[in-house]
Every structure is written in C-alpha cells, then in structure tokens.
C-alpha cells in the first residue's frame, strides 16, 4: 500500500499541496483527478522523492522511499525519460543495465503489443509512440507499484485505446497503479478508486464501483457535485 499523509508543498508563496492524504492499494488502479495545475504531478514527484515536500509522510508498504524502493515502485512521467538520441533498443539496454527488476521478456512482449521497432530512434518517434516507449520502459520493470502522470493526454485516439488496453491486461494486473488525469471519460470503467483533488486538498476519496452501487452515481456525477458544491 502507498500511504500519503498530510503532504504540504509550497512553491514560493503559493501553496500547491495543503495537507493531502490518501492511500493506494496494491492490485488496484487509483486515479487522482483534478484540473490542471492542482498539484497532481507534484504528488507523484513527492512519492518518488523527486522534489522535496515541506511536510508530510510517504510510506510504501510501510517504509520510507530509499534507493531500494526504485526496484519496487516506478514512475512514468508525462515526457519520456530517456535520451532522444537513443534507439528503443539502447533505452531498453540502459534499463537492463541498471535495474534488477527489468523483465526483458515482458519488454519484448510490450514491443510487440505496441508494434514498436527496436532500432528506431526516440527522437524520430511520433507523440503516441513516444508515450508508448515511455510506458514500455516502466511496465517492463517487475515492480509492485506504477505511477503514471497523465498517460492519456496529448496523444491520438488509437494510441489512447492501446494504452487503455494495457490497464485491462496482465501487464498491470496485481500491481498497484496510481494515475493522474484531468479527463476521466476514457477510463471510467478501468479504475477502482478515485481521489478528487482541488486547491491542494483531497475533496473526496471513493471506490468507483461502490459509488455506482450505493448511490447510482458515475464518477463524473460525483465530480460535478464536489466541484460545483
């Protein structure tokens, strides 16, 4: 389980996170929803210790993030984190060189799944394919937790469908996933849990299926209530 407790973060005088708390379970897809600029990315950066928090606590299976954590949890930012002059093959080689959790077999499977060619240079890829390589490099790690920042934004519809397919496949199964998005429509049926974020606080945290069962409300219904209320 990933536990986020009372995170605060200021950029200059601006408070971006103002006591954010939530949890994300293993084996579930947790979706952090909020309009742009409400600190979704900052939370993920915070979990990965990529930017310091002013206060708060982050625990991954009860432990603070250390260098060992990076074999257990990985982050797929919204831009690719490899050198543009590398080929896909070289990027995969880099991952294999540094991560024990790299699963070459799964990586090759993903290449086929996304119909990518190993010898292509990252700088020559389309936006959609760049996003897929970025995803591949994260998904091919045998980690328990995956964080993805806006995996669906800014890419074409077909790439989006392909990426959505990943979530219903064994590539994600049994792992804990946190994704951020400002657009819930495509993935409403894919997610287990919703964390609604606004003005640096969590407005509501609920299970999507339970919400439909108990109150007959879709995620968008809840968002409408919460953001307009």
């Amino acid at each position: 389980m990933i536990e986020v407790k009372d995170l605060t973060k200021r950029f200059g005088r601006k408070k971006v996170l103002n006591g954010v708390s939530f949890t994300a379970e293993k084996g579930q897809i947790t979706c952090i929803i909020g309009i742009n600029g409400v600190g979704k990315t900052t939370i993920l950066n915070g979990i990965m210790n990529l930017t310091p928090m002013n206060s708060g606590l982050i625990l991954i299976d009860g432990k603070k993030v250390s260098k060992e954590s990076y074999e257990k949890i990985t982050f797929i930012p919204d831009a690719i984190t490899m050198l543009p002059q590398m080929t896909i093959r070289e990027a995969m080689q880099f991952m294999q060189d540094f991560y024990n959790s790299w699963n070459e077999e799964r990586a090759n499977e993903l290449l086929g799944f996304f119909k990518l060619k190993q010898e292509e240079r990252i700088s020559n890829l389309s936006k959609g394919n760049t996003a897929k390589v970025n995803l591949l490099l994260g998904l091919a790690l045998d980690v328990d937790y995956l964080l993805m920042d806006e995996p669906f934004s800014g890419i074409d519809i077909f790439s989006r469908e392909q990426i959505a397919d990943v979530f219903t496949s064994h590539l994600v199964e049994d792992r804990g996933v946190i994704i951020t998005t400002h657009e819930i429509n495509d993935i409403e049926h894919l997610i287990d849990k919703v964390v609604l974020l606004d003005n640096g606080v969590v407005l509501k945290e609920f299970n999507a299926e339970e919400m439909r069962a108990s109150e007959g409300k879709s995620v968008i219904d809840v968002m409408r209530e919460v953001y307009k209320g």
């Binding site: 310091p52 260098k67 930012p77 050198l83 540094f98 991560y99």
Partner: protein, 277 residues
C-alpha cells in the same frame, strides 16, 4: 559500486562524439601547424640565404633557430588547447544542465535509479576527470610526433632540438598542464578537481533552490575558496608567515581534502533531500 562504473561509462559515452571532434581538431591543427610553421620558416630562410644571399649566421641571429618552442607559441598549437579547455569548462555545467533541459528530462531517470544518488554525482566528477586526463595524454603523445615532423622538414643547422620536458618547461601554459614533478602535478590537478567539486555543488544548490540557490551557491563557493586559501590570506593581510614551505604544502593538502569532503557531503545531502526535477 557496479552502477557507479556503469554510470561513468554512460556519461563518457554521452560526450564521446564531441570529445572525438575536439581530439580531431587538436591533432589536425597541431600537425598541420607544425608543417606550416616549419615550411614557412624554411622558405624564409631560403629567401634570405639563397635569394638575398644573407649569410646563414646573420639569418640565425636575426630570426633565431626553428624549434618546438617557437611552434608551441603559435595559434596552431595553443588554439586547439584553448578550445578544449573552454569546451571542458562549459561541459562542467552542461553535464548537469543537459539532464534537466529539453523535452526529455533525463534527470527523472537518473534520480530514480536504484543506486545511491551520490554515484550520479561522483560519476559526473569522474567523467570530467577522465576527459581532462585523456586530452593531456593525447597532447603528450602528439608532442614527440610533432617534434619528429619538425626535424624532418627543417635541416639540422637551422633548428634547435628540444626534449619533451624542455618543450614543456619552455611554455608557460603547457607547464601548468604537464608539470615536471609529481608533487606539482598533484597540486595543479588537485586544485582543478577541488574547483570542479565546488562548481558541481554550487550547481546542485541552484538545482535545489533555483533563484535562491544561485545566491547560496555563490556564498558556498566563496566560503570554500576562503577556507582553502586561508593560510595565504593570513600571510597577505596579517603578515603572518610562520609556516615552512613543506608545512604550508601539507596544510593546503589537508584544507583541500576538507573542502572536497565538505563538497561531497553537501552534494550528497542536496541530491538526496533537496534537489527537484
């Protein structure tokens, strides 16, 4: 430790293309330079002695003998060295900033490696160190080759032959790069690398605190330098001068080690706790 070596290898690879170009420029410019300079000298000599029938002794008196010493003063020789130095100084900064800038923010990857983040820092320092040593070695290999070319072109009565050590000690600049004693070598490169450590730490201050970080970085750098030159400051401002040269040397070595350790400790703290993508 294995990941540290992999990182060094990786960092070297990232600069290799430019590095090879720098080496290429140095080789071409210096070899071409020694040919051009030697032939130029020879044609001047021909002009003076054969065409203007000036006695050889008078020519030598007026123009001097051709030697590697003359060549190493020329732009053909110094130009590429200056270029390499400038490129490496620039790369001291760029080796960090290239990971942050651009659409592909590689710093995410580097900070998320399952290895101590200090390895990333040390790998970059090591890379700069190896790049410098590499260029100096190339220069040391080039010198005897250039000396041979000069001997091949200029006849023995018009030239003064110098050994490699003489060539080096004749040039003020070369002497800094390749000192004639091991101790001096340690001093020159020790100071150089202490400065690299300080610069890297200052960069991490900037990357951690951005605008405020620039100020912190400058303050930190100035403090580090003050610590290092403290005995000299005492001497200059207070006329205190009670250390023998060897004592001064030992003191400076200790101070340099203190400054470098402080830089590593500070960088370790910054890159683990404060740095931001």
């Amino acid at each position: 430790m294995r990941s540290y070596f992999k990182l060094v290898n990786f960092e070297l690879g990232r600069f290799m293309k430019i590095y090879l170009v720098l080496i290429g420029i140095t080789i071409i410019s210096q070899i071409a330079g020694v040919i051009v300079k030697s032939r130029g000298y020879l044609s001047e000599a021909n002009q003076a002695i054969i065409v203007n029938s000036m006695p050889k002794e008078q020519f030598l008196e007026q123009f001097g003998q051709m030697s590697m010493g003359t060549f190493t003063q020329s732009i053909w020789f110094m130009g590429p060295i200056a270029l390499c130095i400038a490129a490496l100084i620039f790369y001291c900064f760029f080796i960090w900033y290239r990971d942050w800038f651009g659409k592909n923010t590689f710093i995410y990857r580097l900070l998320m490696l399952p290895t101590a983040r200090l390895h990333v820092f040390l790998a970059k320092v090591t890379t700069i160190f190896l790049l410098v040593i590499g260029l100096v070695s190339i220069q040391l290999i080039l010198l005897p080759i250039e000396s041979m070319i000069l001997k091949f072109i200029v006849p023995i009565d018009l030239r003064a032959d110098l050994g490699i050590m003489e060539i080096i000690s004749n040039s003020r600049y070369l002497f800094v790069l390749v000192p004639d004693s091991f101790i001096q070598f340690i001093i020159n490169y020790g100071i150089g690398f202490m400065v690299v450590f300080i610069i890297f730490t200052a960069i991490l201050f900037e990357r951690s605190f951005r605008l405020k970080g620039i100020l912190l970085g400058i303050v930190y750098s100035v403090l580090s330098i003050i610590v290092f030159i403290f005995p000299l400051l005492l001497e200059i401002f207070f006329g205190v001068n009670y250390l023998y040269p060897t004592e001064l040397f030992v003191t400076e070595v200790i101070l340099a080690i203190i400054v470098i350790c402080a830089a590593i400790w500070t960088s370790n703290y910054l890159i683990n706790k404060k740095v931001t993508v």
